[in-house]
Amino acid sequence: MTSTSVMGGIVRRKEDPSLIQGKGAYVDDVKRTGELAAVFVRSPFAAATITSIDIEAAKAAPGVHAVYTADDVRHLGPNPAQVAVGTLRPLLADGAVKHVGEAVAMVVAENRYLAQDAADLVFVDYEPGEVVVDLKDAFADKVKVHGDASNILLTWHGHGWWEGVIDLPDPSPGIQEAKERDDTVTVSLEMVNQRLLPTAIEPRAVLADWNSGYGSVELWSSSQIPHAVAGAVGVTFGIPSNKVRVVAPEVGGGFGVKLNVYPDEILVCFASKELGRPVRWTETRREAGFASTQGRGWVGTATITGTADGKILGYELEAICDMGAYSHNFTVAVPLLGLFIAGGQYNFPTSYALHCVVTNTQTTDAYRGAGRPEAAYYLERIVDHFAREIGMDPADVRKANYWKPEDFPVQTAIGLTMDSGDYEKNLDALLDRVGYEDLKAKRDAARAEGRLLGLGLSTYVEVCGFGPSALAGLGFSWGAYGLPTAFNGSGVVRVQPDGTCTVTIGTGPSGQGHETTWAQIVSDGLGIAMDNIEVHHGDSVDLPMGIGTFGSRSIAVDGTATFEATARVRKKAAIIAGHLLEAAPEDIQFADGRAHVAGSPDRAVEWGQIAESAYQPHTLPEGVEGGLESSVVFSPPNATWPFGSHMALVEVDPETGDVDLLEYWATDDCGNVINPMIVDGQLHGGIAQGIAQALYEEAIYDDMGNLLTSSMANYTLPVSTSLPLFSLDRTVTPTDVNPLGVKGVGEAGTIGSAQTIVNAVVDAVAHLGVRHIDMPLRPKRVWQAIQDAKE
């Protein structure tokens, strides 16, 4: 039994035996007696007035228990979980619809089939109105989405984004001066960072069971934030938090789409309360394009001014960011997160204007990376473009502008503090490993034969594991749920009477392997074997508060709370063990499931004996209380700032525009690593999602606001055979923001990868005259760009 030094080791995932045997319980696996099923009637129009809804035929259909419309739920108010900017989304469309797929009525029946049959019998009279989908049209207020209100909800400016707190001078005049200098070059690109469908493999699912005896409700939801859902349910129905239990059991992928509280979560609770039966709703795959949030959707112009030796004197980004029709949890905060890293790893003046604009489409919200992939895309595309225009190597231009290790902590252009970084070392590690010079020679030789090989580089910095908590007061409306507005992490470590250990955390996995990583932290601290540690998550009654899983925050924040709780348990256990062994607590060490006196491994007690004593307080030394557990709430003093360098080699078919991704390398730095296999897995998935944006995916709306890609048959998610084996490596620059020295890694791969691919493809065809191609780089687009360049 070797249970120490598991930190930093490749430990097999504790959860996998259950998951691969099909024993993992997702919401659809949770069954309640007497369940009813809900189905929603959704709008076929993107903008319309509802003149009447006829529910009589549906109500009379077989097996139907209820049909609800806005009239039934208006008293509950709008969906409480939305940033209070712009028009709030009602629980069910109330007199008007603002996007295709907006829920207009809810049918509850004995089963899904009967519910769907009845839903087909709900007759809604719509008076279609004018629709705006195009972002520039929306920005120009050509058609207004919500009455007379401007479509522009707000604009984030880099220097003044936090009113009253951060008030930096406007960098624009300085950049303007640089532009006017004789020795500078200014380059600019307009680029689209297209809208995406997050597509978790498990669509959303909810099951509510209202107990009229206790006046309490239990809700199972495939959610990244069960505590926030509990808060929203409590606020909506006016019941205290100790009467709401929200459980997020196994969650089959989240990516931000489950980082919202949705009207359907509230509505199943309502129906369960009304009908006295448990009520379930499970999203269908196609419905996810209408009922769940989407990601990205920016059109913007990036501009760089610099000198011919690669020194950049100013970076400007102006973008219109698509919010969709309503706000959800973060919506307008997503561009803000982009703003946080819009200057990336570079020391140059920057100026931003990010306009948050509504359109007649489904709401956008966080999607893996949330604003940061967009920001990194604009920055790293334009830096690459600048390098090409001045004829310098793109790696050299980047190095010429990096913050240096001695600059840290760095005050960013928008007034945040970057904890740590060594960007040049990281980039050099990548360049050395791939044999950069040889690769370039290989590319050039192939090109001489008429083959279109391209090499693409991107480096990036991300910000995650958000803190300080004061930041949470801005842009987020969580206070409205009756939750503390903060970025805390929670961890409870309890040694059971038999010496095994239970850990409860305020964040849960949607595939990230929390159970293993957390067990490693605790095992390392207590010397208890991995197999003897169970990690609990996702149940709102387990902990007073849990912020949930998003923003690559779990390990840096809740991991730290658990680390601290572990230390406290160890301290108390040392007192008890010392008492049992007649030794000083300072001399007690923990390893291999037991405590021993330093220097005499045979003078030892098993954890079981320590725990037995702890739960028999009369055996404890004077002044020591019974029990052996600790609960810690950790408030991070700052975010962490991981970074990395990615490179891709592609070949473009000159005749068809088909892009073949030949090689992908990444050297990332997320500080200390607890489980390299899990960290690499996060990078693999993240990189795949970035490549997906670069080459394959796009949520396409027509002018009438119809989502043309709601089916997986035409959304063209990549499949495993679409991707090469990724070659990963890392540098380690620990943070001092938390005692583990860890930074987040959940989003890093996505933030670094899309522009790596686009830079590579543009590199492959640049000599033909192409300078930019908008994503996804489908054959059609690449071929067209080559044709256009020929003309």
């Binding site: 419905e287 394959y696 071929w783």
Partner: protein, 282 residues
Amino acid sequence: MYPPNFDYVAPTSLDEALAALAGAENTKVLSGGMSLIPLMKMRFVRPTTVVDISRIPGLDDVTDDGDHITIGAMVRHATTASHPLVQEHASALAEAANGTADLLVRNRGTTCGSLALNAVAADQPGAALALNATMHAASVRGTREIAAADFFLDAMTSALAPDEILTKITIPKGGVSTYRKLGRRGGSSDYPIAAAAVWVDVSDGSVSDARIALNGVSSTPYLAVGSAEALVGSDGSADAIASAASHATDGVNVLEDLYATVAFRTHLAGVYVRRALEDVLA
């Protein structure tokens, strides 16, 4: 994704199945279910009765019948892709099957089901045209043979009557064939953006016969007659191939969709005809 109520029958003989289909207004044959079930779940297709033919013995064979091979109604894409007889005598169809969907779908979806459906851009119909396959249909009214060239009428429409089962297809031996496509996800994965199936017979250094079919290019697969004419009688040189390729979309209404403009697809049609011909004439 919840279909309306329907009746389901799973007969164990062809006669029973044909009887179940006879005179039925809105009855559907179910073979692999890889298209019918999603269409039903989306309520785009609402049959009152579904006749599952997968339990009828004898429909899942590939056989050598002298001058032709036979592929039964329940032969799955995975079998078509890997069967030595198909690979030897109808490689265009084997390649089309191999590039269809993913292994899970190939393990269930059938070659005949795909032909019967004639979905826009489906892989198999082009190969069936190039190979001059014969479709064998049965109903209580009797059996009939339909030439591939007369079978694919329009998008999602074949020459089968509602009460007919496509019991098998036969493909004449001889010649060489191949199938080349650009898939929606790039490479040869997924439904084609454009695809060419070509079959040629070469004797004494000249092309004595050829059939060139395109799918994914128009709303239904078609034989590019002009392309074949340009090739037959030639020596199969690069010039002859280029000339054949230049006629790939003659007189055809080329589709525009999310994956291609008319100009791009027209261009691709020529590229894939050329690449496929280069393959078989190399």
